[in-house]
Every structure is written in C-alpha cells, then in structure tokens.
C-alpha cells in the first residue's frame, strides 16, 4: 500500500508521519507538496499536524484552498482512506470533508501530553484492529482542539456512529469529549491526538500503530487477491 504525506508550508509532523509509515508500519510512503495536481498513484492520504500557513486567520483556513486539496476531495470521494491529524483534522473541517469546527482550548493553554482515548467505534477502516471501547494512550499537542458542532450535527454524528475516539478525561473542552470523527461514508478520519507519535513503546506508547495497521488490513482485503 502506498501512502502520501501531504506537506503544507508550516507542516511539522510530516516527518513523524513518514517515519511511522515507512519504518514502523513498513509500507510505501512519499511526501507530496501542497501544490500537487494528482494523488492518483496513492492508496491512502495523510494530512499531518503542524501550523500550515502559520495558522493565520484560522487553523487550516488557508491550507484548505491549496491546489492539492482538490485532489484530497477527489480521493475522499473515491473512497480512499484519508486521515487528518491535528492541523490535518482542522484542514479537513475547514474543507468541509468533516462537519464542525475547532475553538481555542477551554484553558487557552497549548496542551502537549499523552491522553487516554476510548475507541468508540472499532467498525471503521481506521480502527478494526482495536477492541470495542478499548482505552489507548496517544499524545495530544494543540492549542485549538476544542471541537464544536451544532446540536443537529452532534445528533447525526452519534446516530451514524461517526464519533470514533473520545477523551477519557477531556483536556480541551471538546463537545461530547470528541477526539476524532469520521465522515458518513467512513473513509475520512480527523483526530486531534497524534497516532504517528505513538508507534514505538520506546517513546511511551505503540497504541497508534494499530490505527495504521487497520488501514492497511482493510485495503489489503479489498485490493489484494488471497489476502
């Protein structure tokens, strides 16, 4: 399986994402610059964390109009797995690929620490390798991860089981403890915690690796004969 790590000016978790895929997951991966005009050759699209365009105006607001985002939309429509982490999640929200928006953390502090997440839905292409309601430890690092959507949207997220990860102890004021959501189709995941920073026990946790393994397993089952 071949992944693309999209690099915007100001991305800073792109190298971690690349490392997680290449060295820990053992799959093919390439960096793709924000002005790329095609993502056809990639099977999975990864939008890393960071501060694209300096977070000017709003997090993700300017990156969302990058040339490559038209291709990310196409990839999402084609059913390819699209994962946005942290700033990547914010870009997916701004692009309208996921519902809602991010506010400043309730405490106004930038929060950088490992947090416990509950796997609310393990029936997605991103979470198949986790147990239902499993608690996993993944680090967060953000100043604007306080998820918000209106009541109607929240009801729809709940009804369609689109809330994939919740915080066990809400660090940022996020609505309904939301840490990660998928789109209705289930192939676009946005999450504030960084699974790519939790792929080796040496660094505190390897709980994030299963997320990437889930993507690969789902893809193999669909694309490789006798998988």
């Amino acid at each position: 399986m071949k992944f693309a790590v999209i690099v915007f000016p100001g991305s800073n978790c792109d190298v971690d994402m690349y490392h997680a895929i290449k060295d820990e997951l053992g799959e093919e991966v390439e960096y793709v610059w924000h002005d790329a005009e095609s993502l056809d050759e990639y099977d999975g699209i990864l939008l890393p964390g960071g501060f694209s365009y300096g977070d000017y105006l709003r997090s993700g607001a300017i990156a969302r109009f990058s040339r490559v985002m038209q291709e990310v939309v196409k990839a999402a429509e084609a059913g390819k797995p699209v994962l946005g982490v942290c700033n990547g999640f914010q870009i997916l929200l701004e692009a309208g690929l996921l519902p809602g928006a991010m506010r400043r953390n309730e405490s106004l502090s930038f929060i950088c620490k490992p947090v416990d997440l509950v796997v609310q839905n393990n029936q997605t292409m991103f979470t198949g390798e986790y147990q239902p309601n499993q608690t996993i430890s993944i680090p967060v690092a953000h100043g604007e991860g306080n998820y918000y959507c209106d009541e109607e949207t929240l009801a729809a997220l709940k009804a369609n089981h689109q809330i994939v990860f919740t915080y066990r102890n809400n660090p940022n004021g996020s609505l309904a403890d939301i840490a990660g959501i998928v789109n209705e189709k289930g192939n676009v995941l946005g999450m504030m915690p960084h699974p790519e920073r939790a792929v080796d026990v040496l660094l505190g946790s390897a709980d994030g690796l299963k997320l990437f393994q889930s993507i690969v397993k789902t893809w193999r089952e669909a694309h490789v004969v006798n998988a």
């Binding site: 607001a61 300017i62 519902p99 928006a101 506010r103 106004l108 306080n146 918000y148 209106d150």
Partner: protein
C-alpha cells in the same frame, strides 16, 4: 475603489474562551460592571471596482474564507474612496 471593514465574531451560541478570560481579568481589576467580553477579528480590505456588486463580492469573500460560518458571524462596512 472601496475600503471595506470586516468584523468577524464568534456566534452568540459559541463559548468564547478568550473573551471569558479577559472578562475575569477585567473583573479582577475591579471593573465589576463588565459582565461579558467577546473577542473577534477586524480586517480592512481594499477592493477595486468591478462589474460585480460590492456586497455580493464581500459576502462571498466572508463566507468562503474570512469567517467560518460554523462558529462565526460577520458584518461589514463599505466606504467608497477615490483611488490614490
């Protein structure tokens, strides 16, 4: 040419953590009459005249980029000026 002043604010229904912190700070400075602060953004745009209606252009710009309609409202003022 137009000078357009755009004000972007969080929607009333959305809690403003920055505004809350500033309210507390003002209260602790003994301004107890301050009951609420809402923090927003102010932008000045210079826009050349075109065949398109200025309100149409500004509304489009605001909904597309300057404000996020999920959490923010905007209003604006248009002033027509002579090009320098």
């Amino acid at each position: 040419m137009y000078k357009v002043k755009v004000f972007v604010t969080l929607r009333e229904s959305v809690l403003d953590p920055q505004g809350k912190a500033v309210t507390h700070s003002l209260n602790s400075l003994n301004y107890h009459e301050v009951t609420d602060v809402r923090i927003g953004k102010y932008m000045e745009l210079t826009i050349e005249k075109s065949e398109r209606n200025i309100d149409e252009v500004v509304n489009e710009i605001c909904t597309k980029l300057l404000a996020n309609p999920v959490i923010e409202d905007y209003r604006y003022e248009v002033e027509e000026v002579v090009a320098q």
